[in-house]
């Protein structure tokens, strides 16, 4: 009954190729956007923004970025944490060097700088593939963390090696620092998340995205039909790193406010984002959101249920969280290798026929 295409006639090509061709789906999408932009900002407090919405939005951007590289272009990367660190430190240097410039510009520039670094580390991908590329990006991860720990210019020579986000604004509204309003930081991150998702969606269904997917499916065949592997792989690294850099900048400046590179952007962060796209679904924008939501919300949910409702000891709940997340990853890999996105697709198919499946 839901998600039916009956009565939905496309009369132009642009209608035919839009992101949500089914009217019901389109309205659902508009409804979600409407709630996110016009309802949630008026209802949130610090707790909801800082514990739930902000990590979800920021990790979604990182997952979208990694999904472009791994899910669409087939280049396995374990360097996400390192690239997020590039975004964070670039943003920090820009914020302290140009205090009067709007945060929007800082975050975008941080993304741009990360894209450059990503291309640099993407160069080996022209020669090496698969596991070997994973190891090369792992090297990028360790090198970048080491660099930001080692060279004190990156943290402005502070005694502790920590970087702290000073108060900065955009259009006179405080975005970073302790005195921000919950709705302002939420909306700021939301704008970047929506922007990333729309850009990623449109890139992946255009000629660039088709080149990426051709490389992913079979690189030799792609080369024969005229896809330039240099261009395809490097654009994938650039676009992916751009989004990952934006998420790193937001992660540091808006969400945490102070980070230490080894702790915040270590190898565990790379794996976390990789788990997000595996659980969410490789090669799917919706999957990036679903995976981020899953891994951000599950620990909070378990904590609320276990500690606040049942009064269990905090360490039991923390261990339980590890057990459940680990178990779910295994279950997903066995039962549904295509992730939550595939479940969503199946649900839509079912809903289309419901309640008369024959």
């Amino acid at each position: 009954m839901l998600y039916r295409e009956a009565g939905d006639f496309s009369t132009t090509y642009s209608q035919d190729s839009q992101t949500f061709p089914i009217r019901f789906d389109r309205w659902r999408y508009y409804a979600v956007l409407f709630v996110a932009i016009f309802v949630i900002p008026f209802m949130v407090n610090d707790y909801w923004v800082n514990s739930i919405f902000m990590p979800f939005l920021i990790y979604s951007i990182a997952a979208i970025g990694l999904n472009i590289l791994v899910g669409y272009c087939g280049q396995v990367s374990l360097g996400t944490g390192g690239f997020m660190a590039v975004g964070a430190y670039a943003c920090y240097k820009l914020m302290t060097a140009f205090p009067d410039v709007s945060m929007f510009i800082h975050v975008l520039l941080a993304g741009g700088i990360t894209a450059g670094v990503g291309v640099l580390f993407g160069l080996p991908s022209l020669r090496i593939k698969g596991f070997y590329l994973a190891v090369a990006t792992l090297a990028a991860q360790f090198f970048l963390v080491w660099l930001f720990n080692r060279v004190s210019w990156f943290y402005n020579y502070s005694a502790s090696g920590q970087i702290n986000a000073p108060e900065r604004d955009t259009f006179g509204i405080l975005i970073t620092g302790p005195n921000t309003e919950a709705w302002a930081t939420y909306l700021f991150c939301l704008i970047f998340t929506v922007f990333s998702a729309v850009v990623a969606r449109n890139l992946t269904r255009g000629s660039v995205g088709r080149e990426w997917m051709a490389i992913r499916d079979m690189d030799i065949a792609a080369e024969i039909i005229g896809v330039n592997p240099l261009r395809a792989k490097l654009t994938a690294f650039a676009v992916s790193s751009f989004f990952v850099g934006i998420s790193g900048a937001l992660f540091f400046a808006v969400y945490l406010g102070a980070v230490e590179v080894g702790e915040a952007f270590g190898i565990t962060k790379s794996f976390l984002v990789l788990f997000m796209i595996i659980i969410g679904g490789l090669g799917s924008i919706f999957g990036s959101f679903a995976g981020a939501a899953f891994l951000v919300l599950l620990p909070v949910l378990l904590k609320v249920v276990g500690v606040d409702w049942f009064g269990w000891p905090t360490d039991i709940v923390a261990h339980l969280n590890l057990v459940i997340v680990g178990g779910l990853i295994v279950i997903f890999l066995i039962v549904e290798p295509h992730g939550l996105a595939q479940l969503w697709r199946l649900a839509k198919e079912k809903l289309r026929l419901w309640p008369f499946p024959h």
Binding site: Y47, N149, S160, P178, E260, A264, W309, A318
Partner: protein
Amino acid sequence: MKYKLGTMAVAGLMAASPVMADLVFPSLSYRTGPYAAGGIPFADGYADYFTLLNERDGGIGGVATRVLECETGYNTEKGVECYESTKGEGALVYQPLSTGITYQLIPKATADDIPIHSMGYGRTSAANGDVFSHVFNYPANYWNGASAAVNHILDMNNGDISGKKIALVYHNSAYGKEPIRTLEKLSEKHGFELTLLAVDHPGQEQKSQWLQIRREKPDNVIMYGWGVMNQVAVQEAANIRFPMENFIGIWWSGAEIDVTPAGDKADGYKALALTAVGDDFPLYDDLQKYVVDAGKAAGAGDQLGTVPYNRGIYAAMLAAEAVKKAQEIHGVADITSGMMRDGMEALVITEEVMAAAGLPNFGPTFSVSCENHGGEGMVAVTQWDAGAGEFVQIADFAPTDMSVIQPLIDEDSAAFKAENNIESNCN
């Protein structure tokens, strides 16, 4: 929930005020992860002390206390989540037991008018209360620790260490990097040669660092380690037969659990101390009677008397004394976090106060003022006796070299003040 109902019932019986008020102490603990070895006993001690106050005295000034525990796993993201979820419950003071989380909470808590007590950790320059209005790090900070370690080495060498080689093995994080600048200044002053050896989180891999120590043969090693890093370092030092009496850890590297894995080879290892060692204090009798025997001990209840447990007790005791001070200043029993801040700023710990709390000679005496949030920075030294299986205090609480530390505090806090346009807190 049961516990919550229990404390509420106690509060209802004992409290003079008709409302069921309570004093909320969030405990951002970590009972999981590579740092749990230190996190568990500290959290147990912190919780047990407040349980004791409720059971024995009916809270502080007639108002029951409530400890809100939240698991951070030493992770800054979870720390933020814990802060946001507990601050709405009327949290009086945060003691995150993590330098990374402290750095994060300094601006947030200041904006929310909630004090932070980073006891022996956190941002060292927060000792300048004129800039950091809501952050306290009494009784001693990292730079006092660095100076105390060097002072002890001076004592061992009859006051002359020029030309000696000292290596610093440190956790490669904000925590471990804190003492570097102080040690560099001290090396200029005393003429020793400083080698820096960073150990990455979590600290299980230290082969190359100790190989370097074996090759360069420094006269002394100072360690700023935490969690699993301590045990590995003591073991590695034993493996290369580094003389243990020349190996000094900061107070975070001086728990029983850090040295026991190395067995007899760890004998003679030294560590700085913020509090006295052991359980030979009147308070422990009350703890046994009201908390342990009543089955109300936090965690497994097997940590009593260990160094980090004592530190948890001490942190809770200082918080409770600050509450009493705040109640005295403002004349209200059910204080707010802003009043708590005033109480902490007026805190004076004398021998009488400690004796009244059942902890005579447990820690140094000190006083806090608006300008000085760091106390006098008195540090003691302990040594591990593997045969007896206990730390023994070998040097009493002694002052550190403030002529080196104070300019560094002023410099760093002035930079923070300029960077963030902070107004003067005092005057």
